[in-house]
Symmetry: C2
Subunit: 580 residues, 2 copies
């Protein structure tokens, strides 16, 4: 038991924990809770769930992450993009009742946890490497647009929910514009104004007041709470829910989520499997990205495999709390860090405050207008639309910019799931396409040295009957045809050639396709009275080749240790006269 | 018009065409037709179509390929794997009537042509590079097993067609074994014996007879025709179709296919799109592989983009002939080549003979037993099960062997479409996984030379406060985290380090993810009083970096031309004293 405890990440800091650290954690925990409570309800609405389920996401999952997570300042809980993905995947199923919707969401959390723990078991924390930065930028930017559009409905006070994302949502909104609720719109715009003001102008005011940090810090992050309080007061005092039909959160059941679980027919899991995997991956990616960024500010490191375990447990916690999938959030984690969180105790304090809210404070949210929650979501996701990142990417590398633009467009047109899948696919295909045309340099000797350089760029000397070339890439299926036809073309263009020296200094491995191609190439070259030689073959590649017949088939071609040795040997031994 | 003609591949040989070439082509054309007629009917049966549709595949498509194809000896027409894929994709749709099945097959051909022409338009002939040798070996071996199992039914004379591939087909066969038709089995086994005998033993006999090649050549390839004639005679004379219920081909409508076309609802194209793309890709791959192999025997080259056009036209021809998709076949092309085909005129002769057969000879096939056609298919696909290729792959490279085994298993268990898709996917993921852990060498100076080598393998000298390392891979999303954490770990382990020199001699490009990582790395290292320097940056990469702010952010870190220069400069300028 003790050794198990020692293996938990928190054992690293628990001994050095003291009063000072606790005060830091306490402040950070309070600040995050002030953000988390309105955000939780807002993200629940985004996920298509009743408001309290967003708060359920913020108790048990936080406890579990605090116990297992390797990041000290990652703030786990309901996040915008995962909530959107939950809504998007369940929206397609056309579930009839609200309780069925919730049951499916719970099973989605469970599957999500299952995938994360499976990845942990396979130690595949590195799987995030398969998703390129441009895909992420394109995806999050497009997801932010989709989210913003979906929440606009609440600000406009439109009655019918849209059937689908982006385009259908836009169309449906435009069709309902005649049912626009002006009061709702005013409340929403007011909330946006409060949120905007509390971002920078408020911080400036607070700075001028020179209040102690323990007070100014929470105040500067309390924008969502201000909006909630102001919106609630306006509706309550003006009785806007009755007189002007402003839609509000309404009755929230008091009390903590019950630990229970309603499994659906496992055959239905099939349709949930792919969405769950994607939510798990995207959530994991977001968490690891922000966790790594924060850890590096303190010279700490986070362990991706440990994060898989911790996030898996957090989602298991979400499933057993009967709610939707969670992840480490970008915004709240940044706030948690900058508010001074030293350890995951900060998260425990946030969770405690959420629990207190659920136990005794839910009646306060009865008059909370949905327009305010919509405004909170919109203001939270707008910074995700990374215009400068898009511009930078375009200037730097057109292939990356293409991937970004493609992912962005596909997410808008085809939806989040298909969009990110095709985005990842296209980035990988583009990579292979680039690798399929490797750089090949024909080289010659620099002066009398032992160095060989590209004849196109340097003043070098070559042998008349020998072609020496260096392939700047490992040899494998994607480029093997290209290399073969490059060599054959060179030989066809110079019929006096008798030797081809393939310099393998950049070849880190050879796959079965390349082996096959090399074997065929030897035969084809032999038909043209040309011998293939290898030079500078790396140790591991040579070990590989020793298991094959290639070295026998190569004869009388040779394997030279260095290019210098190859060229001196071939210059000294002119080939036998060949039939004309 | 004349310039268009000059651009056709046949313009290369049409002028030198003479009587001798024609005689060669004539013999090859006859030999191929003798194989093609029974194979065509057999593959039609495999595709789930009436026998005559296999012959329809062998007229118009051949004419079009002869006009446009860049291979002189590729024999286009119905092929085993494409036929299986047609049956597999249409089998899932549970079409009610035979005429509806045919109409869907025609639309599949049309879509297939569309994809090939689209790929041509995009000049994506290199797309075949994305499919590795191990995926192809695994796929064709498994497809051959599936095909053989599916045809076993005809030899056993079982009444009900199986619902599904491989496992369901096997189960369904075993369940029906009590309805086994002994007569059919004997006919089938007889046909197999004839086919086996005509492969090698017959060639030996013919060699001993010393007949002129114009006679012995066609005879040696006429195994399928012998089986057809013998089987037909046995059934006809013994009236086995009546007395013993041996299933036969029956009435084949006389005459050429009418040029017509029944479009289906384009919304149904959605379900046909993926199968059509896969048939197009696999067919293209098979054609290019065999075409390249044959062309290289004659020092010719085939042009993949021209092949896309020619195969697209051939499939358009198939669609307008009202039949299923075609490709360049492995077996018949080899026969065409070895029978002496000089130009595509050989294919025109084959097509002419098929047309003659359809016009006047179809009544001859009335008594042709289906067991014989099944035997022809089985004997044609068995050589595709490439056991020695599998063994060789296993010995050479476990990753390739894994891909092969995975593709093989997935095709059997999940069917041909999903199997090949997942096979291709896994080969690409495996590649990226390998690339995500690039080789990184920490290097030092060899003696007093300008050479720097891996400190783990060579006797080298290093500077105390400088880490020089070489990454043997381009920097991009898949490996950028790995490289970053490698460098940070090295720095954490050696806190006295003040300089890191990243040697970019093997870096052929940097993508946006890697740029972002480098920018972050500079900041993280700076926090630890370490400067990042670059050395041996290649020209194109330097051009890329000049468009970014990286070079400014690097300062006071520098970009050195060579590692030697970097190390001499850093040794000469010891860093300023740093705070303890």
């Amino acid at each position: 038991m003790l050794s198990l405890l020692n293996r938990l990440p928190l054992s690293q800091w628990l001994q050095a924990y003291n009063r000072e650290t606790f005060v830091s954690d306490l402040i950070a925990g309070v600040v995050v809770a002030i953000m988390l409570i309105p955000q939780g309800m807002a993200y629940a609405m985004l996920a298509g769930m009743p408001a309290e389920y967003g708060l359920y996401c913020a108790i048990l999952p936080l406890l579990l992450y605090a116990l297992l997570g390797s990041s000290r300042s990652l703030a786990v809980g309901p996040v915008a993009i995962a909530s959107l993905m939950v809504a998007s995947s369940l929206g397609q199923l056309q579930l009839q009742t609200s309780s069925e919707y919730i049951r499916y969401a719970v099973n989605l959390s469970l599957l999500c946890a299952g995938f994360l723990l499976l990845l942990r078991l396979l130690r595949l924390g590195d799987i995030v490497n398969f998703i390129s930065h441009s895909v992420i930028t394109g995806f999050t930017s497009a997801a932010a647009v989709v989210i913003a559009i979906s929440q606009l409905r609440h600000i406009l006070g439109l009655p019918r929910p849209p059937e689908g994302e982006f385009l259908p949502a836009l169309t449906s909104m435009l069709q309902q514009l005649d049912q626009l609720n002006i009061a709702s719109l005013l409340v929403g715009c007011g909330a946006i104004a409060v949120l905007w003001w509390s971002k920078k102008p408020l911080a400036k005011v607070l700075q001028e007041c020179r209040w102690p940090q323990a007070i100014s810090q929470p105040l500067s992050k309390a924008g969502p709470m201000f909006a909630v309080v102001a919106g609630t007061l306006v509706v309550w005092l003006g009785e806007l829910d009755q007189s002007l039909a402003v839609s509000t959160v309404g009755l929230i059941p008091e009390g903590l989520p019950s630990i229970s679980f309603g499994l659906i027919d496992p055959s239905t899991w099939q349709v949930l499997a792919l969405p769950a995997l994607l939510i798990a991956l995207v959530g994991f990616l977001e968490s690891v990205s922000v966790g790594t960024a924060l850890a590096s500010k303190r010279q700490e490191r986070i362990n991706p495999n440990q994060e898989l375990l911790a996030l898996g447990a957090a989602n298991l916690g979400a499933a057993f709390s009967g709610t939707f999938a969670v992840a480490g959030g970008l915004g709240r984690s940044m706030v948690n860090h900058s508010a001074g969180a030293q350890t995951t105790i900060a998260s425990l304090i946030s969770a405690l405050l959420v629990a207190v809210t659920l136990l005794w404070l839910t009646p306060l949210f009865y008059y909370l207008p949905k327009a305010v929650l919509g405004a909170i979501v919109i203001m939270a996701v707008l910074p995700l639309i990374d215009l400068s990142g898009i511009r930078k990417c375009w200037q730097f590398n057109k292939a990356d910019a293409l991937t970004l633009a493609l992912t962005f467009t596909l997410v808008l047109v085809l939806g989040v799931e298909l969009g990110i899948l095709l985005g990842i696919g296209s980035s990988i295909l583009l990579l292979i396409y680039r690798a399929s045309q490797p750089h090949i340099a024909i080289v010659g000797r620099v002066g009398e040295s032992e160095h060989f350089r590209n004849i196109a760029r340097h003043q070098v000397s070559t042998l008349n009957d020998t072609l020496a070339l260096r392939v700047d890439e490992s040899l494998y299926f994607a480029n093997t045809r290209y290399v073969e036809s490059f060599i054959l073309q060179q030989c066809a263009a110079a019929p006096h050639l008798r030797h081809v020296v393939l310099i393998c200094s950049a070849v880190n491995f050879i796959d079965a396709s390349a082996l096959e191609t090399l074997e065929n190439l030897i035969i084809k070259l032999r038909n043209q009275q040309v011998r293939l030689h290898l030079a500078e073959v790396k140790g591991p590649v040579m070990d590989q080749l020793k298991n094959t017949e290639l070295l026998q088939e190569l004869a009388p071609g040779q394997v030279f240790f260095t290019t210098d040795e190859a060229m001196r040997s071939l210059a000294a031994n002119p080939p036998a006269a060949h039939p004309a």
